[in-house]
């Protein structure tokens, strides 16, 4: 019997090592023996913004990503451990967690920021802050947002904690804007809404679905491959599907592109697809039998195969 044909994947450059990894999948699986892809490049504590040049390690045929952000956790063995459930967990464990959450819900509309700007802010926090706790991350993210927008001076919170007052004159918000934001936030705090409001108004108000200006490139059933690099400096393309083959299983319409939204860049609405991946294609020999992963990916993340 002839050996199975190796798919001839064109390797454009060394910058797409994942493509080469897939074309030699048989031998590459050894790098999955630790059940997850390795990411052992040291991360600069000063910043998690990384230059995403995947490096091909010829010896093991593993690829590793230079300075992977801690937020991109899928499949990363360094984060593996037992999942610990707490019985009768409260919504907020500490009073401050609720305060941070409540303040954030007020500030997001007041400052006119979207969740992607917020998440991008979280991802830029020092690694130890990002990993310390969920609401600690929110606190750090909002402090940065407030400083960036000119409402807080650098060091102002520190000074306040130390009992000093920083007298820096800072940007203010008009009374009308404060009252308007309060009204808007309050309008969402209801146990239930009229059906038409919940079904038609809220999704338009809070979601980012937009009419597409051109038809989508893919249809359900298409074989695709996720592009071999991740967009910088922010993207919703998880590292573990980067360069991997999958199949389109759903089309979710078109929405604003988070990669652009997070940095205030204008971009046309993009078609969004659900892509199914076989576990073996993601994890090689370490894959569990009869499992698949589905990920929602924007059109620009995908290539036809």
């Amino acid at each position: 019997m002839a050996p199975p044909a190796i798919t001839a994947t064109p390797i454009a450059s060394i910058a797409e090592p994942v493509a080469s990894m897939i074309s030699t999948r048989g031998t590459a699986s050894s790098c999955h023996r630790h059940r997850g892809y390795r990411d052992d490049t040291p991360v600069s504590p000063a910043s998690n913004t990384q230059v995403f040049e995947p490096v091909l390690r010829v010896k093991t045929r593993c690829y590793r990503r230079a300075m992977a952000a801690p937020s991109d956790m899928g499949g990363r063995a360094e984060f593996f451990g037992p999942v610990i459930r707490e019985s009768d967990e409260p919504v907020f464990h500490e009073r401050w967690e609720g305060r941070v959450f409540g303040i954030s819900n007020f500030l997001l509309p007041l400052l006119g920021r979207n969740t992607d700007i917020l998440r991008f802010g979280f991802e830029q926090l020092p690694r130890e802050v990002y990993l310390s706790s969920y609401y600690r991350r929110w606190l750090g993210g909002f402090e940065k947002l407030l400083e960036g927008a000119g409402y807080l001076a650098p060091g102002e919170v520190d000074a306040r904690v130390a009992g000093r007052s920083a007298s820096a004159r800072r940007r203010r918000v008009s009374r009308a804007r404060l009252a308007g934001t309060a009204r808007l936030v309050r309008s969402l705090l209801r146990p239930t809404f009229p059906r038409w409001f919940a079904g038609q108004v809220l999704p338009r108000m809070l979601g980012t679905s937009r009419p597409a200006l051109r038809p989508g490139r893919f249809t359900i059933g298409d074989d695709v491959r996720v592009r071999g690099t991740r967009a910088q400096p922010y993207t919703r393309q998880p590292g573990y599907v980067t360069g991997k083959p999958g199949v389109i299983v759903a089309h979710l319409g078109a929405t604003l592109l988070p990669d652009a939204k997070a940095v205030g860049r204008h971009a046309l609405p993009q078609h969004l697809y659900t892509v199914a991946f076989r576990a073996a294609d993601l994890w090689g020999a370490a894959a569990e039998p009869d499992t698949e992963v589905r990920v929602d990916l924007y059109e620009s993340y995908l290539e036809a195969t």
Binding site: M73, G74, F101, N105, R160, P191, P203, P289, T291
Partner: protein, 197 residues
């Protein structure tokens, strides 16, 4: 860490209130809303309705956002709800590897374990093992389908209706639907377990 963080949050809030950038009474109301109005009981009502009304089940699977809106639910993190049904051959489970996306209007805010690095990193790579550790052993012939909510959609698992529940009404059925069963890391309670519990 917590004392220092608590002091920092207090300082930040005091500054923001002094500067009139935040209205603290609205902050109180937001906290109260997420502690009392929003939670998995909402999702349980949706699932119980779907179990008893085949037409509603169809609408839920076709357009989750509109179907949960029929019960009045909607809001932040619920603008594109996609309901995925468990069957005898497919088991669905939800994770967000990039952050902690979760369908707030139907499930409330996510529990700590959902936001933990262990769950976020492992669920896509070792779903069978993680589910078994969490007490859900699935037969080999059941396909495990992991949904990594990486973009707009927020996924709600529709568990299978437990046996021995014929003739039960919506309210009674809703008591069997657990949060974990709507994330996909558990099953609904059996009528016996619900009675004992």
């Amino acid at each position: 860490m917590n004392d220092a963080t608590a002091a920092r949050v207090e300082a930040l809030e005091a500054l923001l209130v002094e500067k009139r950038i935040v209205d603290p009474t609205v902050v109180d109301e937001v906290i109260d809303h997420f502690e009392t109005n929003v939670g998995p009981l909402n999702g349980a009502k949706v699932i119980a309705r779907a179990w008893t009304d085949p037409g509603y089940m169809q609408r839920l699977l076709a357009d989750g956002t509109r179907a949960v809106a029929e019960l009045g639910f909607g809001g932040p993190e619920g603008h594109m709800i996609v309901a995925v049904p468990n069957t005898s051959t497919v088991h669905n489970v939800v994770v967000c590897t990039l952050c902690s996306c979760y369908p707030w209007p139907v499930l409330g805010l996510p529990p700590s374990w959902y936001k933990s690095p262990a769950y976020r990193s492992r669920m896509v790579a070792q779903p069978r093992a993680v589910l078994a550790e969490m007490g859900l052993e699935l037969p080999r012939e059941v396909l495990i389908r992991v949904w990594d909510s990486s973009a707009e959609a927020r996924y709600l698992v529709v568990p299978e209706r437990p046996s021995g529940t014929d003739g039960m009404g919506e309210a009674e059925l809703a008591r069997l639907v657990t949060r974990d069963s709507m994330i996909g890391v558990g099953q609904p309670l059996s009528p016996d377990a619900a009675r004992d519990g």
